[in-house]
Amino acid sequence: MSAPTLDPTDVKQMLLKVADVIIESEEMLSQADRDLGDGDHGLGMQRGFTAAKAQLEGLDPKTVAEVFTTTGMALMASMGGASGAVMGMLFQSGGAALGANDSLDADGLCAFLQGACDGVTNLGGAKPGDKTMVDALAGARDKAEDIDCETVSEALQAACDGATEGMEATKAMIATMGRAKTLGEKSIGHPDPGALSVSIIFKTMSDYANQ
């Protein structure tokens, strides 16, 4: 499959897949947070996507937006922590930008990414370069916009590449945001855990659409 668009049920399947991969990545994400923060990022993401999965499984979605906002609400309500707020906001504001569309195309993904970026930046004030998940998220948005994609699969591939680059770039940055992220120089060399999560999310979405 290399789908031009995804319907609400596809998006639901795609996010269920994201949930599974994130849940499996608990140890890796926690380790990343141990290097930079308080070591709980994997646990929070696991808790959040377990809740999201339960919500999604019972959902019969009419719109694409619904799938994303349901995920966002579930993350927001169950995770707590910095990442609960920002990951929840990513999916909620991203979803809200999609209106009542019943399919996700390349333009839709760009709108989702822009909405997600705006929501998260508004909420937490982090800008690219602050070594947060915003680096990966803005990377995804920029790349997906730059390349003039025809299909959602291509756009997701671009978002995945952009998120990965953004995440890779955090390794060289000094952390300035977040609870335990004031290691200063010592934070250099490690990727931001939230950025790692975002890159995993878009990689899994891209893999789903391009499988």
Partner: protein, 333 residues
């Protein structure tokens, strides 16, 4: 690391249940993580605190008579989600608005911010005072980047008394801002606590080093130095606090608080207090009252912090009022 747990991933929810048991009828859990006093009077301007669990007795151990009216509890070391905060907000609101008072950490700020939007949407007026007493976390010109540490004990106590007196939310904001703006702290880390879910240490520090100004989760302070004596450490803490922008000198009156971060003993807190007091008295500063013990902790972390609250005529009667909670209790004067 041996810990008394059942399921490490359920530690937060079990400890909140236990906290309700501790309060033995005077506190109820309105939804998981959202707790409130059962006897909040009808005309009260409510005070809500909250934050991650694992730092007991803060934050949720600070509710009670003359203290906070309710608390929103997150998972271990994690800010509470907006819906938990909203539920707690609804439980304490008596129609006169709710003050959110919590430590300035980005996770907490974001979740409380979303919660206040949700509360506003339900017609509840909410204001926020952020606690940012840690002088080692940013220069005085950037207070909004400072972390909230042990100063939150005197601040919440003063705020609790203020909430019993305030006519309206604006007055409460003003009183609590007064308390917050007159409080400064600095912490010294000796050894990490452990993360309950994994048993791993919360940070790393050499056996012969002290994290000067380090935060309660191991956040960077103003440097790492060689292990020192209690007196040397007291001097360093007093210097760091007095060098800040709040003038404290001859004739001023202060609350002094030596807080243990967990496993540092009361013996050590008392030895440090002795030197801190001597240094302050030498400078002509008067000690209005003293607090001491493990109140703002990070599991069995070793270390100590010093908080000073400069008293004024508004704060004194607030401090002198009686209060009762798991974390801090005092008889009226």
């Amino acid at each position: 690391m041996k810990k008394l747990l059942n399921d490490p991933l359920k530690a937060a929810s079990e400890l909140v249940d236990g906290l309700v048991d501790y309060y033995n009828g005077s506190v109820e859990q309105v939804s998981p993580g959202a707790i409130a006093l059962t006897n909040i009077s009808d005309d009260k301007v409510a005070l809500l605190v909250g934050g991650g669990t694992g730092h007991e007795p803060i934050y949720h151990g600070l509710i009670g008579e003359g203290m906070a009216d309710g608390a929103a509890c997150g998972d271990i070391f994690a800010a509470p989600p907006p819906n938990v905060i909203l539920d707690a907000t609804k439980a304490v609101n008596r129609g006169n608005g709710v003050l959110y008072l919590y430590g300035n950490y980005s996770g907490d700020v974001m979740n409380f911010k979303i919660a206040s939007q949700l509360a506003a949407a339900e017609g509840i007026r909410v204001e926020t005072v952020l606690i940012w007493d840690d002088v080692a976390s940013a220069p005085p010109t950037e207070k909004e980047k400072r972390r909230g540490i042990a100063g939150l004990i005197p601040i919440v106590k003063l705020a609790g008394a203020a909430a019993d007196r305030a006519e309206n939310l604006d007055e409460l904001v003003e009183l609590v801002t007064n308390a917050r703006d007159n409080t400064r702290s600095v912490g010294m880390a000796l050894a990490p606590g452990s993360i309950p879910a994994t048993g791993k240490p919360t940070f790393e520090l050499d056996e012969d080093s002290i994290g000067v100004g380090m935060g309660i989760h191991g956040e960077q302070g103003v440097g790492v130095e060689k292990m020192m004596s209690a007196d040397e450490l007291a001097i360093k803490m007093v210097d760091l606090v007095l060098a800040d922008d709040l003038p404290i000198g001859e004739g001023d009156e202060v609350l002094v608080f030596t807080n243990s971060l967990g496993s540092t003993t009361m013996m050590e807190c008392l030895i440090v207090l002795k030197k801190v007091k001597a240094l302050l008295v030498e400078k002509g500063v008067n000690i209005y009252d003293v607090l001491l013990g493990p109140m703002v902790t990070c599991q069995e972390m070793a270390g100590i912090s010093l908080s000073l609250t400069k008293m004024n005529d508004t704060l004194k009667p607030l401090w002198d009022a009686p209060c009762s909670s798991l974390g801090y209790t005092k008889l009226g004067k």
